[in-house]
């Protein structure tokens, strides 16, 4: 009884893709499982589960983070954006379009994380060099050897967002 009270589930209020969600979670619930299993937002993937691969990348208060290494209770009161929140209705985000145009994915497992990291990059650095793009992707692993096209996809998106892409 005492132990149960000690580990008691806690109420959280987290705004995900603009919608406020009130839930009760065990303190050990990781943000990625809150998104996937409580909210059924399965676009955010669990890859390595050890904060290395970046498949679980989401934006927490506007910054790219690895949601396998954030507790849901730490996100209480915060705003989270996931891959599902990027498109504007039927209009893809330019980074999503870029991955389609430049074939920035093969199996697609790393793609949501890659895209969320890339969106964060372009929000902070609208015209990154190739080198800056590669450094920004340091925390995202692709096992289909797709990095070349991923960099091309992000360059395409940057150009489009800067008004230049065709």
């Amino acid at each position: 009884m005492a132990a149960e009270a000690q580990f008691a589930a806690l109420p959280v209020s987290i705004t995900v893709n603009g919608v406020k969600h009130d839930a009760v979670v065990e303190p050990r619930t990781l943000l990625v499982y809150f998104l996937r299993e409580h909210l059924n937002l399965t676009g955010t993937h669990v890859g390595c589960d050890t904060s290395q691969c970046g498949a679980c990348t989401v934006h927490l208060n506007g910054r790219a983070v690895k949601s396998c290494t954030v507790l849901a209770v730490q996100a209480n009161g915060a705003a989270v954006k996931t891959i599902e929140g990027l498109a504007d209705g039927d209009n893809f985000h330019p980074v999503q379009e870029g991955f389609r145009e430049k074939h920035g994915l093969q199996c697609g497992y790393c793609t949501p994380g890659m895209i969320m990291t890339a969106v964060h990059l372009l929000e902070t650095n609208p015209s990154p060099t190739d080198d800056e793009i590669k450094h920004a992707l340091e925390g995202n692993l692709c096992r289909c050897t797709g990095y070349v096209n991923i960099v091309e996809s992000i360059k395409w998106a940057a150009a489009k967002m800067n008004g230049g892409a065709k």
Binding site: F7, L10, P27, L30, L60, A64, V65, K66, V73, T117
Partner: protein, 289 residues
């Protein structure tokens, strides 16, 4: 992977966090950015009964100037340290180090205070904070005290912080004109953690001689190591390629690095001399500007 069950309390103030520490004792653990603690808990290397979250305590973030030093809130994330104009202007070595921790996502969550208090022997910040002669402000219910970096890192994953203290600020002296600082590391190719790293602070006289220095090496021991011989050899000497190279050659003296599957002890000691030289040269270059 889930951590073992634990209780969680979001502290709303420093006072409340101190009270919670007193209440939970050894069963409680402070949570900052969680980027060392949460992975360790997921691997069940640590199973605290209660996490006391400092992330909800206001006033622990940001970089400001107070007199002759920078005050860096313990909960300031690495990305903000790396991007801070004050840090880049006064102690660019700290920006060098903060910018090469982990990856973008890790730098958006991991904190300078968390990294310092965790005292991982393969971490970047302890090394650069040693060269910069930082001090650590520890708050307890009884008051606060300042701990010099030379006394702070006491062993593997161990600091001089007492169980009833919270690290609230890191103070970094603003160097005098003519000072240059730099940090470089040889990262492990898979993890990015330090294999060997070097940080240098060089005070260069107009004549080109070295009037003071602090050189720190990471990866050779349980924490950062001052390369005292190197500092002594630089003292009063012209900062030429030859004197720097000779002084740097002493950077791994009397060290006994732990061998691992990636790098042997002799290799680490050799890399330390090379990286010490590179860090000193980079610091001298900045001092001359």
């Amino acid at each position: 992977m889930f951590p073992a069950n634990f209780g969680y309390v979001a502290a709303r103030s420093l006072e409340e966090a101190l009270q919670l520490m007193a209440k939970h004792g050894d069963d409680g653990k402070l949570l900052a950015g969680g980027h060392s603690l949460i992975p360790a808990m997921k691997l069940r290397l640590q199973s605290p009964q209660t996490l006391i979250d400092l992330g909800t305590v206001p006033g622990l973030q940001g970089v400001t100037v107070d007199g002759n030093h920078l005050v860096i809130g313990a909960l300031t994330v690495h990305a903000d340290v790396a991007a801070s104009d004050l840090v880049r202007k006064h102690v660019p070595a700290l920006a060098d180090a903060a910018a090469v921790i982990g990856d973008v996502q890790v730098r958006n969550r991991g904190t300078i205070g968390g990294s310092a208090a965790h005292a991982d022997p393969a971490a970047d910040l302890p090394v650069v904070l040693t060269a910069l002669n930082a001090s650590f402000i520890a708050q307890s219910a009884l008051g606060k005290r300042s701990i010099s970096v030379d006394d702070f890192f006491t062993d593997f994953y161990t600091t001089a912080l007492n169980a009833n203290e919270i690290l609230t600020e890191i103070h970094v002296p603003i160097p005098a004109a003519g000072t240059g600082t730099a940090y470089i590391k040889l990262p492990h190719p898979a993890s990015g953690y330090v294999v060997v790293s070097a940080a240098a602070l060089i005070v260069r006289q107009r004549s080109g001689t070295c009037s003071a220095s602090r050189i720190a090496i990471g990866g050779l021991g349980s924490g950062p190591i001052r390369a005292i011989s190197t500092e002594l050899q630089l003292q009063g000497k012209p900062l030429t390629t030859q004197t720097i190279k000779a002084a740097a050659a002493a950077a791994a003296e009397e060290t006994d690095p732990v061998e691992d599957s990636y790098a042997g002890a002799e290799y680490k000691r050799h890399v330390a001399t090379v990286y010490a030289r590179k860090a000193i040269e980079a610091a001298v270059e900045r001092a001359a500007r």
